[in-house]
Subunit: 560 residues, 2 copies
């Protein structure tokens, strides 16, 4: 049996494009003598559709897409993800389903049993869990059809009380098929291979895992679909961060015609969730995810050109470089906005950066505008001393200028705030926190340095002076980040324990961090929730990004 | 049996204050010979605790609070809501529980079966549903303990496959007790009484319903706890929008000593979800909810003083009036920021408003600042015509000025955008969309007028000229909202059908609205999701507010 895996990049709610893309792959598989082709979870409508699922019209369009694809399923079987209606009155009205299409029609519908409802996932908001489980019998093979989370309920403290493969295995399937929309984070690619291996180990049959690829606002899907034989060897591994159509041939005895490309011993087994801040970083994956995150956001929103406020600091330098790689340097404008507090090298470093990247830049000094505000505010402020109000004012003047440029020329402002700043509230709402997409909002400062070095791996794209100088917001004379915050190599590991690993103050102090410092930092994180609440979507690269996957009360009085 | 209901206002994560408040009520009930006292859902930690529940430390503190309260439960039984740990390894690690405390200890724990996971609710994100059901036997009575949603699974299309009261009723309870944290919306108070009645009707026994009160960021809990006898008469109804401690006395035969205060025939039965835009509005409830929403946000965040950008328009006038009622006029500063496009009456109306309200105001003209921006941008903008960039620039200058005032004097900026504007994207990010709390973000423009009239019910607080003039953003000469948007009496009902009632384009057109207009408006709603995504929390008064309860993809291509 020749089985195709279609790893595709869908656009949520864009039924026309998604359906056309799926049908193209069906035709290509058919032309290449495929027996079966597999698409990812909720492929027809894109994942995650969120509250669009509450619109009857949206469900109708999803089902119409499935039917249009079914018309092409002649001489080839198609497994494709989409929502389906729950025929029972009890329970939620929808299932998250895998449709089996053949002979031009919908032959069978398999529903997802385990509905993830943590981090960025809200599936129980929309879907009823399946309670009935059947195999798909096709061309003499018995296939166990599962959907994403359905194969994840292993381990010592399982999240769900049932395990659908435990039920399906009783019926002696030849093969597990899993259609997924499993998002990237820096730990996930490893973890996912580990789970595939664990299922093969537990059930003793091969597994075909077909994932989505592409970015949907903040969520990055990295692809990496795989086929594993019953001996736990990989016989196919589709690329990461791009679309692909590939196939395997299943023999009579459920081995594959394809050679082993990665033997069992090179594949992780258990969840590799790291415990230390430094132990994980596969920086080139993070880089790829950020570039795809920018590119897909622009493509899917119909945008072409970006603008970045280029300060001569490392965050804006890395953001600008990533944007140039994602969109082409001709489509990325840098705006330099020096003030009386800017050091000379800020401007020259930013200019050199844009020369290296070959992207256009403009310079608008903010001093005269600042003076106009100062004059207008003087009757009210009188002789009150310079403080955070004037610091924020400079940042907001820059925000207003760069948005004026964006509005005038149709640019989208890319935000440059990093995760360390957003965690501690070290940023100005409507100032440097402005923007349509947060490029580095899930990247701690220490990781921004790692990205800068990765970007410079072949040549000096980012001037080394930008990497080497002490971080500063330059909102008053001789200001340094370290005036207000601990050094980033101390700050970041504490933030990581609190945010990614949900460790409480006692746990973190027990790791050897200074108690007063831990309490101060955790308090900063919690009292600044109101700022992050107004922040733009952040490209998610960690297992716990700010945004939809982290839901914290604003009026809460916890650790604050 | 003398049963006290404690309808209290908790603060999420503020264990010290919540515990003290609960213990005070226990002591008072005990001093007044109470046998039993009932508190609301998740009372010890406040509702909704959201991702604080992912911290082991937070659960430990919750359980420590329950134990501290148990020490006071001597000579009186206490039922109080809090999280508890799931002793089984399978399933999620927590339950949403009602603790029964007596003799100084935790005697029994009852877990919630039905976990709401729609709109603002995310309970399945944290909690395992109960599968075991027992009665509480206390002083010769058998009590069915339920938690909020547990009594809501009635009707023709129930959301859940099980109904815990159907199980508990088999054991012949004398009384249903329901502890809730059931948020206000303008339809909810009626709906809630209807559900209480329906349960009493179905199970034939009395019901005691104890709700939370108070606001948690955007979510308003309105109280209104009730006791209904088996004949479906109300024998107790606690106040709306404020704390209360009250009691009923249950006779041997499960009637109450208290007289009927509202007979069965005056209580709704079915869900009264309205179908028309105009049919629901109980404006004084919306007014009360908004005033409590502002007051609680300030109290719980530790803020005292607010600032409002006062334009002379109706939205800022209503916001300013509500803020003055919530915080006291001496704590609310109005900032007038006229431009060359402001009409003369804008300033005089805004001044008159503050004179009527007796709140301080300041005036800062923006023209010279605008000129400074214009000069600085001129080398880049050259002779490109005045357009949305310059309009937004004015709005952002105002946002920057009012935030400078806020930062300098410690004010919190209250946002004045209404739901019609937010729906259609008729507002400027970082300009008039700035602020810490959205006062009118869940109130359509037509409803803002109704609020203005309600505020003026006794005297002219809001100058009638503000109510009567045509709405305008005044960002260019002779601009009117109706240049870009349809009249609000046409716009608002379409938005209501789409947002509150989740009707699709075909459904709305079938109601008789113009097809091109419907498609244009729905498209505006969907393409402006990116703006709302950066908006502050909005006090929720409708069944579908923008914010945590409405989760829509930004890169989606649906109806857009």
């Amino acid at each position: 049996m020749k089985i195709f895996l279609a790893q595709q990049n869908y656009h949520i709610g864009n039924f026309e494009d998604n359906t056309a893309k799926i049908i193209d792959a069906v035709k290509e598989a058919k032309a290449n003598c495929g027996d079966l082709i597999i698409f990812s979870e909720l492929a027809v409508c894109g994942y995650p559709p969120r509250d669009f699922l509450e619109f009857n019209d949206f469900i109708e369009q999803s089902i119409a897409s499935v039917k249009a694809i079914a018309k092409e399923a002649v001489g080839i079987g198609v497994i494709v993800g989409g929502p389906s209606r729950n025929p029972k009155v009890e329970g939620k009205d929808l299932f998250n389903s895998a449709y089996f299409l053949y002979d031009g029609e919908i032959k069978q519908v398999f529903n997802k049993t385990l509905l993830p409802n943590y981090d960025i996932f809200d599936e129980y908001r929309y879907f009823e869990p399946a309670t009935e489980h059947e195999l798909l019998e096709f061309k003499g093979k018995k296939l166990a059809i599962t959907i994403c989370e359905d194969i994840w309920n292993l381990g010592d403290n399982p999240l769900y009380r049932v395990c659908p493969m435990d039920i399906l295995i009783e019926r002696s399937p030849d093969l597990i098929i899993n259609i997924s929309a499993s998002p990237f984070d820096y730990a996930q690619a490893e973890e996912r291979l580990g789970i595939v291996k664990r299922n093969v180990d537990k059930y003793g049959i091969p597994l075909i895992y077909c994932n989505a690829v592409g970015s949907q606002t903040e969520i990055v899907f990295d692809g990496g679909s795989v086929v594993m034989d019953a001996e736990q060897n990989l016989v196919a591994e589709l690329p990461y961060f791009r679309e692909a159509l590939s196939f395997v041939e299943l023999n009579e005895n459920n081995t594959f015609k394809q050679p082993v490309i990665r033997p069992a011993k090179n594949i992780p087994y258990a969840d590799p969730m790291p415990k230390d801040f430094d132990s994980w970083l596969d920086i080139h994956e993070v880089y790829d995810a950020l570039v795809m995150g920018i590119r897909d956001y622009f493509n899917k929103m119909g945008f072409k050109k970006a603008i970045v406020a280029s300060s001569g600091g490392i965050d804006s330098a890395v953001t600008l470089a990533l944007a140039c790689y994602a969109l082409g340097p001709e489509n990325v404008t840098a705006l330099l906005m020096p003030s009386q507090f800017s050091t000379g090298h800020s401007v020259s470093d930013a200019e050199q950066l844009s020369k290296n990247l070959n992207n256009p830049y403009e310079t608008i000094a903010i001093e005269s505008i600042y003076q106009a505000f100062d004059n207008s505010l003087e009757p009210v402020f009188k002789d009150l001393p310079f403080n955070v109000a004037e610091e924020n004012l400079q940042s907001r003047i820059r925000g207003t200028l760069v948005m004026a440029m964006a509005n005038k020329f149709g640019y989208i402002l890319l935000n440059t705030s990093n995760k360390s700043e957003l965690s501690t509230g070290y940023g100005t709402l409507y100032g440097d926190m402005a923007g349509g997409l947060g490029v580095l909002g899930d990247v701690y400062k220490m990781q921004v340095y790692a990205l800068a070095k990765y970007i410079n791996r072949n040549e000096e794209v980012i001037p080394v002076h930008i990497i080497d100088k002490a971080p500063s917001a330059e909102l008053r004379h001789d200001q340094k980040d370290s005036d207000s915050l601990p050094e980033y190599n101390v700050l970041d590991p504490i933030l990581y324990q609190y945010i990614e690993r949900r460790q409480g103050p006692k746990d973190i102090i027990a790791m050897g961090f200074d108690e007063a410092l831990v309490r101060r930092i955790l308090r900063l994180v919690n009292i600044n929730e109101y700022k992050r609440n107004q922040f733009c979507p952040i490209i998610r690269v960690s297992p716990k990004a700010f945004g939809v996957g982290r839901r914290v009360p604003i009026v809460g009085k916890y650790l604050s």
